[in-house]
Symmetry: D3
Subunit: 318 residues, 6 copies
């Protein structure tokens, strides 16, 4: 079925959609209206519900599924949905939340297996035990949370998928530079963003918790490693080094790391994290852009617009 | 007795001194010589031991007391000590290390009492218990360590003295602004730099430990609070808030705080920390400078030179 | 009586209010409307007068009192007033401007007395005479002007109240650090922002004068000190030092001080200025925020939102 | 045979060495002496020739081979060579320059083959022809020059070796992210630093030419691509894109790129360039450092010192 | 005839105007409207066409002449045109595009003559030939293009007029500082912005081409000089120096120059470029502002508002 | 007679020289020596007086003329003077200080005449009277002081010469841009650096006074204008505008101007100041450099080295 982002101006839609956010405004004629962001797996769209009744405001709140009929218009070059009819979905409607949210392109089971395989390859028993214990402690959330609220891997299971991609990347790179310690790399990759399961409030609602705001996922995870090591009686400089790898993985103070990487594997982990996040952002932005045109500005890439070449080497030259 | 910094060019000295650092060089005539930094309570001086023998290099190492005879010369406007005779102090010499190192202008007992009094004034039982437990755990080092390796309060018991000064300041300020929560302020002040007892290697040798270099005293202390709270079964947002106050007390990422202060008392604690450190640096720099002249450049004060006014309001006008 | 900021969405209001600013716009139906900012002592609110007549635009100008009836709505999370009826207040209405503008929580007489007491404590006769003369010259405006157009102490007599708070703070701090010269501190505090009486246009309309825009209150006041000293025949480095304290009280070039503080008391004055301004901003922002929530972003505090803790040590623990 | 960097203080040496740089000074006894930097494949050392005769200054110039006898001393923690006897090497001496300079760990033939293989894999005929022509034009210098004057790959054939490493890395990464266009990546990697053969003066003397100083290797190479394309009659946006990839490969204006990467492969090439350069610097710095210690400060890595862990996962745990 | 910017609120207009840009929006009543920017020689105005029909959107596109009737209103202090009637201009209408676009205050013929005279004064034959050839190659566009899309000399023939102004300025300055090489200055001035004829798409539509976006006018022109010199067989350091002058004329990396000026004339050219651009912006902004008031904020002048003095020395004092 | 900077290594000198600075050091053999900077009109040289006696240190102090015999050696590529004989010059020696210090290339009388002519051309009587009065008040120092302690015009009468150059430049520029107000430009140029006669201690010793350090020449001069205007009864916005032009002439806060230029002539004055200072620095640096080489790094020009072209258009092409 055609997703919400694939409709063009002038077309009518009749779809189940999930409310991502809702805000009330007053039009210049003095009447209230609602601005909703509605989503399905294909992406999201701004929608306007004019002349909203007080009950509308109470019904149409985030994380609710609605059935919508309306028309696609455009505003400042972006599609918008002008709602004609809207109602709450009920138990009888043939739709559930997981039909409407984007998820990682790999099943949770597959990701669990991959990660266990990498943990199995860790030779140092302290690092292996600590990594396994922390993954087990946070397992449920870890395999469901997004990697971020926006920008990259911002979908269900995005966090675990980002970790799996980085692990594969690390394996390739370590094959070319044999001095790299894969124990530190693999464990560091699995743990580096795990604090997000405490920093964020959930897999789909994704706001920041009090701990998230006051401490941040990096400090939270450094603490988790310290406490778990103490509880397990794990000692040795490996623990401090793993804490350092997590602490420094944003690389610069102004990006959230109070210490820059001072271990070779910490530096490389930061670069691989960056590489995978940028590949994710760039690939999706260019897919949404026609050849010969520039993408929208990408905030997390210094606000640049990237060019989608007309030239395509993948098309055979005749 | 006259301290080493109070001698003038041309005078001879015969003193017990403590070696702070030692380095070997080769003179342009090809002969080795030692450059020592020697100190007593009054301060320190550069000293040269020309034509050093191999045994000299082994004997004269940091943290050793020596008996020195020599002459004061000057080099680039700074006094220097040209050594004529030097020997290691022995058990029979009437001198001990504590005679030669600068210490806080308040006894440890007095500081312990003051701090206990402030802890007693904390009303919230969680905060009081946690603060008391952490102070007890690190008590010995806490009352002996310097507040920093250089710049401010860089003497024995400097850390505790800085804390006592800040507590008194906090009490005065809270009297003028009654909305301030003194529980958070007092506990935050006592804990804010406590991680230095793990970051630094000792009360007088003062180098950085591996944990100090890879994690830093802020992250170390945030962990300590978390672990101790867990061990004691203390729960509630107070714990997160205290961790935040420690985490944010350097105020900006580039100064080492991954989160800026987001609690009123965290902001005020940062300002009081700054005020006490600057008063300490400025007062000592101006004391060393004659009226009508400028101090040496103070690195930790943006490299400024401060003016010591000729005008003095404390002298009665006739 | 309930102030304008204490009404909730859906309530009706019938109040005397002062127009703080007024701007005409054209609605998308092509009809003009007025956006007014209306205030009473409790604070201010945005108000819309739809279908405004040409006369409305002439009548409803800043610094005018109006009687308003209307309804509270919300727009982007902020309250807004939808005006039903509005008229100019006349002589017969039981209201005057001072009923509607916020003022310092201390009477002018009390502040005059406090400041005179501090001047009396200045021992150096040059500093005392100069301070007294400058205060006398600008006395009327000095005790009525706000400390700033926005951000902190932005109410009638805010400037003098800020000075009184800083004087009390200076007295407490000088008691703990006896090397501070209270003559320089007290005089510097009284003079530091006095140039605002020339930089700003008045106690309640608060726009910038030509001198304010082209020279700024710091340069204006440095000139005032120089000219007054010359007229009084006061000489000595005290004059240059007081000029320096005013010149440097914003601390950094990018904040408006062409020289950084190079006198100990200048550095401390800058810190106390900062401390009092931040206490003022923070206290009011947190008072407006429910426990467990974050304040709005505070522009002058690096755009941070501060947390109002749920935990409250002032409530007795049972 | 033991290289110059592997001798310890107190040992005597008798070696053929290459003069890297030479400078005359006057000792404090008024006599001239020479400071030479001498190198062999193992690295370099500072050497002092005391009481230098006028002829010595003429003989011992950069890029000359000498036979040296002397003793290892230390100065500020670094080894130094005190020369006892020195003479110019003659035709009869069993040594040639290539015995004394560091070179890439792969033969030129092998690198030529690898690069040809990658060019062969480029499918777009314009890109393939242009890349092949430019490589052919500059082939000789390209396979001999260092990648930089200092910091990374600063040895004979360092430029080509860096390119080969990046090509292998690109192949691995493209296997994981199939949307990457390997034509642009492979051609961009081969061309990105080719301008250095004009920017620098030679394979071992490595100073900057006038064109290097006034235009820089990036602008030089953008021109080369434009001119060669024009001469060959190659047209199409591929040419502009390849110029852009070279132009933007330093990523930021302050690092020398007037445009940031605006093509996905340009962004990735910048990251792979960085990754290979950092791996090269880090691996060599850590090899020179004992486990449990920190490396010297690495200027090109933000002046950081990296820790060489004691813990080593590569040693089997018993 | 009165230009569009000289009408006041409340007046009616009936004019031929050129559409500079057009954008569709949806009003809060759900009906589409067009926002047009319309211009004549006097400047431009925002215009609203309410209740736009689908055909309107197709007709009223950029670079089209329309006949408009409407009324001047104001919005946020700026004039706006409320359209009553609008139609496309036809062949019969007594208007052509050049009547409606601003142009330089000097004819193309006059500018061609001036530039030829300056080229004639260049003594070095290489520089003279190269400059003449490049001017000839791009002559048509060079004398029609604007100097920039906005900010300064953003009108037809603005580029050439900016160059003529700079040449005159250079002649005056060189008369005062005789060490300046006028060959480099004159040639550098003529060539410095010539790349804009490739960077921009045309004299009046002024958007960026793909080469403009990926390479920028500076790199484009450095290439042009290199290729033209090669084709003409011109050699010598003059070519590299001219390329450097163009490369460095924005002075800093963050302003687009990968190398800063390293030739005296390059530094001076940058300053004269700046001086002429700022004179152009300032003079026009102040002309639009009444004496005693401040101009609007000028984005390209660090967002400053400049004061138009009341005092005027040009009016005779009586 | 050959100046001190024109001697080469190995030559002997016998010259009268002025001591610019003197510093005592101790050689590694423990004996004191003096490092003198000696100057004549041609420039300056470092000189060493080995085995200095105590009397030498008292005799050879700054601003003293000496007769010196010695030999030119080199150290780190710079010439140095090894002193064989030195004695104080007496009344009988045929030398005076003005023979040994660099001065502006225009006589004071000529500069006085030029400046009076420009003042005569000022039409506004307030500006003319104020400028004349301030010039008269500081006339003696104004025509003798350097423009700066180092970097540009750092010679006797350098300040007045810099002003004369800027006046001529302003006249040329105003001829091309007739909207410029020459009253403001000429008066602003004469006054802009006049505060240096109070900021600096003298024409040849050139250190900073207390007022210079605590207030700076900009604030000093803004005060001077204000006081003089008040004493003369001159009023009107001209006074504020002249103060603003002086206040803003360094253009940015971090360069010492608390307000940026907000008057057109203030902006232009800043640019002309810059242009004349840079021409002065560049011309002298390039004169000292052989064609085909780069100058030493110029600190005040962002530490750049400039290229002196081999190519010279001033030599006729044959």
């Amino acid at each position: 079925m055609k997703g919400i982002v694939h409709f063009n101006e002038g077309e009518s839609v009749s779809l189940y959609l999930l409310i991502k956010s809702a805000a009330k405004s007053v039009a210049s004629n003095g009447k209230p209206f609602l601005t909703l962001i509605l989503q399905d797996k294909s992406g999201e769209i701004d929608a306007k519900l004019w002349d909203a009744a007080p009950q509308d405001e109470k019904d149409y709140v985030p994380d609710t599924i609605v059935k919508v009929e309306g028309d696609i218009t455009t505003f400042r070059g972006k599609n918008q949905l002008r709602i004609r009819n809207i109602r709450l979905a009920s138990q009888q409607d043939p739709v559930k939340k997981s039909d409407l949210v984007a998820t990682a392109p790999m099943s949770i089971n597959e990701m669990v297996d991959t990660m266990n395989q990498f943990i199995f390859e860790i030779r140092n028993p302290n690092i292996q035990r600590l990594t396994r214990a922390l993954l087990k402690k946070h397992q449920e959330a870890f395999f469901e949370f997004p990697a971020a609220v926006k920008n990259h891997h911002e979908y269900v299971s995005g966090l675990a998928y980002h970790v799996v991609s980085m692990l594969n990347l690390a394996k390739s790179v370590a094959a070319l530079y044999p001095s790299l310690d894969t124990d530190l790399l693999y464990s560091g990759i699995i743990l580096h963003d795990m604090g997000k399961v405490i920093e964020l409030s959930g897999a789909t609602s994704a706001s920041y918790t009090l701990e998230g705001k006051l401490l941040g996922h990096i400090s939270i995870m450094v603490n988790e490693i310290g406490q778990t090591a103490k509880e397990m009686g794990v000692e040795g400089e490996e623990v401090t080094i793993l804490q350092h790898i997590v602490l420094s993985h944003h690389s610069k103070p102004e990006w959230g790391s109070p210490k820059p990487p001072l271990i070779k594997e910490a530096e490389i982990l930061h670069m691989l994290d960056n590489l995978d996040a940028k590949m994710n952002m760039l690939t999706r932005a260019i897919e949404r852009t026609k050849p010969g045109e520039f993408t929208e500005r990408l905030f997390a890439m210094d606000n640049r617009s990237f060019y989608h070449p007309l030239y395509d080497s993948k098309v055979p030259v005749e």
